[in-house]
């Protein structure tokens, strides 16, 4: 038996005034359902305060009420009373967040595309074996020419865009005379062949940089009324030697003013389609693509395994085993076999090509042997 612990409040509550006659079932039911008059309700409260028996009866009876009617009602009311704003506000926030992220992403991507030309104008592209390489504007070399490709090697189906690109490139050629040309080693040509597709996209974007920059400057110049004259003058100065090309690329002023972005997009597409990507396949053959996934081999007569390709504008250098070094000044249409002076035998492979300028460059073999030129590859030491 529990030991009673006295408590003043409980003791006084139990000692409360004696309740009167018990209310009948009707009154208790009416009390619980709130259908009694106020004075009746007060009387029932008074009785219940002093009658534990009726409190127990009321509690047992109300405990038998079906719960969905009694207990879930406040919950349902609370749920249904939520304002419509509170209902859709969280979802709207999520949607706004998604839109914001997408917008920032697009802007960031656009900015990258805008910045890439400026960053690569003075930097030659570096691709290792099996990586597609973007082309560069044509720059005719002066060395003895050895045609390493078949007659149709340079006649790809994107001839017209290529022509457009070449016509636009002289300005870039002027600005990239001091360009730093680097190369990439082809040590892992076999394994890197698998990543050629992914690399080609990036290389393409980078390779488009000079022409894109020119096209953008032209279109922006045409789109803005005031700077239009200045930009046009600059473009005319740059393209002085290629007036026809400028005439072809430059849209009509009225059109450019109305839809500069669309015009810029067209130019970018046209320029991009004219720029080949470069790679060295698993057999060591140098390949060129103008897009659409069609790769065509260049240097088809060369049986030696190529290890590295270096591209800067239209200058393309390819090196491979047996110290084989080729140079193309026209974006791969024609090739010149460079005779490197003998050093430590003939069995080393060229794995690294780096040109600080168009004239000064270094070629390095896998055994550390290197050759340098200061006259664009005419002489090596």
């Amino acid at each position: 038996m529990k030991q009673v612990e006295p408590n003043p409040l409980q003791r006084e509550l139990a000692r409360g005034p004696q309740a009167g006659p018990h209310p009948d079932a009707d009154l208790l039911t009416g009390f619980a359902e709130g259908s009694l008059l106020e004075r009746e309700r007060e009387e029932i409260f008074l009785h219940l305060a002093g009658c534990a028996e009726c409190r127990e009866l009321l509690s047992v009876a109300m405990g038998a009420v079906a719960k969905p009617v009694d207990e879930s009602k406040p919950f349902l009311v609370a749920r249904s009373s939520r304002s419509p704003v509170r209902t859709w506000l969280p979802w709207a926030s999520v949607a706004a967040g998604i839109v914001l992220v997408c917008t920032v992403g697009l802007l960031y991507r656009q900015r990258l595309e805008m910045q890439e030309p400026a960053g690569t104008e003075n930097t030659a592209e570096t691709l290792t074996a099996s990586q597609p390489m973007p082309p560069a504007p044509a720059d005719r070399g002066s060395m003895g020419t050895v045609s390493a490709a078949k007659p149709n090697a340079g006649k790809l189906k994107n001839v017209e865009p290529e022509q457009d690109a070449n016509e636009m490139t002289p300005a870039a050629e002027e600005t990239t005379d001091d360009a730093k040309q680097t190369d990439a080693s082809g040590q892992n040509s076999q394994s890197e062949a698998a990543s050629a597709g992914a690399a080609s996209d990036k290389a393409t974007a980078v390779a488009q940089a000079p022409t894109q920059a020119q096209a953008r400057s032209q279109v922006e110049a045409q789109a803005r009324p005031q700077p239009q004259v200045q930009a046009k003058a600059q473009a005319q100065a740059q393209f002085e030697s290629q007036p026809q090309a400028q005439a072809q690329v430059e849209p009509a002023p009225a059109f450019a003013a109305r839809e500069p972005a669309r015009a810029l997009g067209k130019l970018s597409v046209a320029a991009a389609s004219a720029r080949p990507n470069w790679r060295i396949d698993s057999t060591g053959a140098v390949e060129r693509s103008f897009g659409e996934g069609v790769w065509q081999k260049v240097l088809t007569d060369e049986k030696t395994k190529m290890r590295v390709v270096s591209v800067s504008n239209s200058e393309v250098w390819a090196g491979g085993e047996n110290a084989r070094l080729y140079h193309s000044a026209d974006g791969g249409d024609t090739w010149t076999l460079i005779q490197l002076p003998q050093k430590n035998g003939r069995d080393h492979a060229i794995v690294h090509i780096s040109f600080q300028t168009r004239q000064a460059g270094v070629v390095q073999a896998d055994d550390g042997t290197s050759w340098s030129t200061a006259d664009g590859g005419v002489s090596w030491k």
Partner: protein, 306 residues
């Protein structure tokens, strides 16, 4: 045609309630649906007048009108028609309340067999048991329409259930009591003497000032150990409302008791010590024993009306 079995409540009804109340009763005849069960306008007037006489003694005329307007006349007429033996009324009653009766009994007993038995017994009482004169007397005659008929049936079932539990508790054999170890149980220990009589006096004075509703709240929560949800169901409010009321009430109670103690010359620190145990929910209290004591004493002094 109704039989002659008028209830005792109706037989003592005073038909002279006043023109205003009579008009209020007459207005409600249309919504009672009495015609469907063969209850005439005059009969309806008599039934409702009996309810007003029973509960409205001492009421003003507007209060009587309000009482008439608060009645569940449709269910009241149905109950009277059932007790009168109208078949259509019984059909309607069984269709509406048979399932509810059984489900309520099941929620009370938590046992299918017991629930069936409880509901069956009540159904027999509702149908009517012949009295010494051979006239059938239905328990539905006691329904007065103050609350819903379903709620009334629930309360009646709850009372039957409590009575059955109490009666069955006395059926425990001596062997079972010995097995359970209650045969030689000590009698309930008397309430310990108060450490300070001034506290009890201060609390008693403060409780006497409270409203009936506040005393009911305190008794249900501190004495009966009911949950907030249970109290809320009894009062027809949400448990959060009960919680807020209890918080305000206990806070005010403490202040008043403390003020009374200090007025009686008790030091502030001593007041804090004495009021430390005011929240009895945290103390192990034999509430059942105290309720039993209070119940037995009241049962002798009061007589139920049902």
């Amino acid at each position: 045609m109704l039989p002659e079995s008028a209830t005792s409540a109706e037989s003592i009804a005073d038909p002279k309630l006043g023109s205003v109340v009579d008009r209020a009763i007459a207005r409600r005849y249309g919504e009672s649906g009495g015609e469907a069960f063969g209850i005439s306008r005059e009969r309806f007037q008599s039934i409702v007048a009996a309810v007003v006489v029973r509960y409205g003694a001492g009421f003003s005329e507007p209060e009587k009108v309000a009482l008439v307007e608060s009645l569940r006349v449709e269910e009241l007429v149905l109950a009277r028609a059932c007790s009168a033996g109208v078949e259509a009324a019984w059909d309607a009653f069984l269709a509406r309340y048979r399932a509810a009766l059984h489900s309520t009994a099941l929620r009370l007993t938590h046992d299918e067999a017991t629930a069936r038995e409880l509901a069956g017994e009540l159904s027999a009482d509702l149908y009517g048991i012949p009295n010494s004169e051979g006239r059938r007397v239905s328990k539905l005659d006691y329904y007065m329409g103050r609350g819903s008929l379903e709620g009334w049936l629930r309360t009646v079932l709850a009372r039957e259930h409590i009575d059955r539990c109490r009666s069955h508790r006395n059926d425990v054999s001596i062997e079972e009591q010995i097995e359970n170890g209650v045969s030689f149980a000590q009698p309930d220990a008397p309430l310990a003497a108060e450490t300070d009589g001034r506290v009890g006096a201060a609390i008693a004075e403060t409780l006497a000032e409270l409203k009936a509703e506040e005393r009911f709240l305190l008794a249900s929560y501190y004495l009966d150990q009911r949950t907030l949800a249970e109290i809320g169901r009894q009062m027809g409010v949400h448990e959060s409302t009960v919680s807020r009321k209890l918080d305000r009430l206990t806070s005010a109670l403490r202040k008043r008791v403390r003020w009374r103690l200090q007025s009686a010359g008790v030091a502030a620190r001593r007041c804090d010590e004495l009021l430390q145990d005011l929240d009895v929910r945290t103390i192990n209290v034999d509430v059942a024993g105290k309720l039993k004591q209070a119940g037995s004493s009241k049962q002798e002094s009061t007589a139920g009306t049902f």
